[in-house]
Amino acid sequence: MSAAAATTLPAAAPATVPEPRASRAPLWLVLPALMLFTGIVLVPLTMTVLLSFHDWGQYKGIEPVLILKNWHEIATDPYYAEMFGRTLRIALITTLLTALLGAPEAYILNRMSGRWRGIFLLLILGPLLISVVARTLGWALLFGGSNGLANKLLLSLGLIASPLPFLFTETGVVIALVHVMMPFMVLSVWAALQRLDSQVEHAAMSLGAGPLTILRRIVLPQVMPGVLSGAIIVFSLSASAFATPAIIGGRRLKVAATLAYDEFLNTLNWPLGAAVAVLLLAGLVLIVVGANALVERRYAEVFR
């Protein structure tokens, strides 16, 4: 039956706009995945939102009622404001640094000759796939108190007079996070550069533009959407990062993800932990969707 239907399709139908068909085949193909996601994503998320409204006590455990106790605590206790403020600050600085360093690097990479470009692309994007725990461990070794390699290097270069504290500080967390997130930024800018017509730079040159003018007036405006979408990815991943703040930041320097972990697995106050997690999710969705809409509106005229 499917064979008969397919042969009657017009030969020139574009690949992306398939013919509507009476057949139920697509339903059966999508249904398993749809059920999987309903069962194991939508239901748990709904339960978590509900959980954030439940009550909890040291001895009574979780009480399935709907009250605003946890939300009230987060809204009034300055501890949470400070913690979310720190999360936001770390994510913003990380995003800024990855953009400032990653975008030029992607540009340099794109100007290299074929073989070197492939090798360095592998070296720079490869860490993305290497375990975050292993990479953060590397930073912990480099920072390692006043005796760490980073401090030894900076001291011997005469850049600093006394060892800087990296471990258990926001500076250390940001440095390690920049490393973890950098491939996302390079990748995003790289993709934007790939869409650039190489003749465009030649055209600008033939019209009398020097290298800096070409960079500022021709390349940067076209790559900007790539930088911004990379920034959105880096921001949302940094704001919800767990392993790096947990290992480099230690037990005292809490961010949203490590606090939720503590509430769930140490304090066992699940409803409060759920509220922290839901707030993180809601905040990120708002910021990401808002930023995406802004970027798309700004560049709709040019790139659609």
Binding site: A13, P26, L29, R111, G126, T136, L187
Partner: protein, 266 residues
Amino acid sequence: MSRNGPLALAFHGLFVIFMLAPIVVVCLVAFTPEGFLSLPTNGFSLRWFRAIADYPEFVHAFWVSLGLGALSSFIALLFAVPAALALTRYAVPGRGALQALFLSPLMIPHVVLGVAFLRFFTAIGFGGTFLALLAAHIVVVFPFAFRLTLAAAAGLDPALERAAVSLGAGGFTLFRRVTLPLILPGVVSGWALAFIQSFDDLTMTVFLAAPGTETLPVRMFLYIQDNIDPLVTSVSACVIAITLVFLVVLDRLYGLDRVLAGKGSH
């Protein structure tokens, strides 16, 4: 014309050193002959690699991770391939919404997923089981398998399938003899990428793992929380080596930048 100046190359050099430094340091420290954290200054030693064998928790966690990664990424494909084919071939109602749903684990922070899974699986009585871990991993790696399969299926010339149909192939034969071989690079890359995601995941897994179902990253994380010694660096070096193998395979098979394009949320 398109050459980098000395300033650009100096920047590039520092950048590459920054990207590689922590990874290289971990691998070097793993070879120290000393009993404490140090760079191997007088000779390399494999003592800390041998020491892994004396710490059964790591060995067990490794097998859990390996099994979990292989199984979850394979099962994710069983769901993802039909869904991707359906979404590229038919005018499925609500296609945009479905696609967004299937890619949503990329956008939802893993810590939130971890919390939600812990709540859900505890509530239905599966807390701390391997099955719960497996189900969670299938969902979390699904987008990676799905996205690469989707790209491969969308890039397929529909005339090829029509040609096969006109020659009398249909149903599963069509899939097995024509469609699957053509999208195979995408599917295999999707599997490999999904495997690595599962193998490396800490944030979500740390909420679900119980003693006995701890994965390698979870075991390493908990170990580091207590103390950092050369043992955990040698374990990390092994993890890095395994990842490198996958990395090279992925690069050869599909091109690393294509595999990773849009790996993050959007």
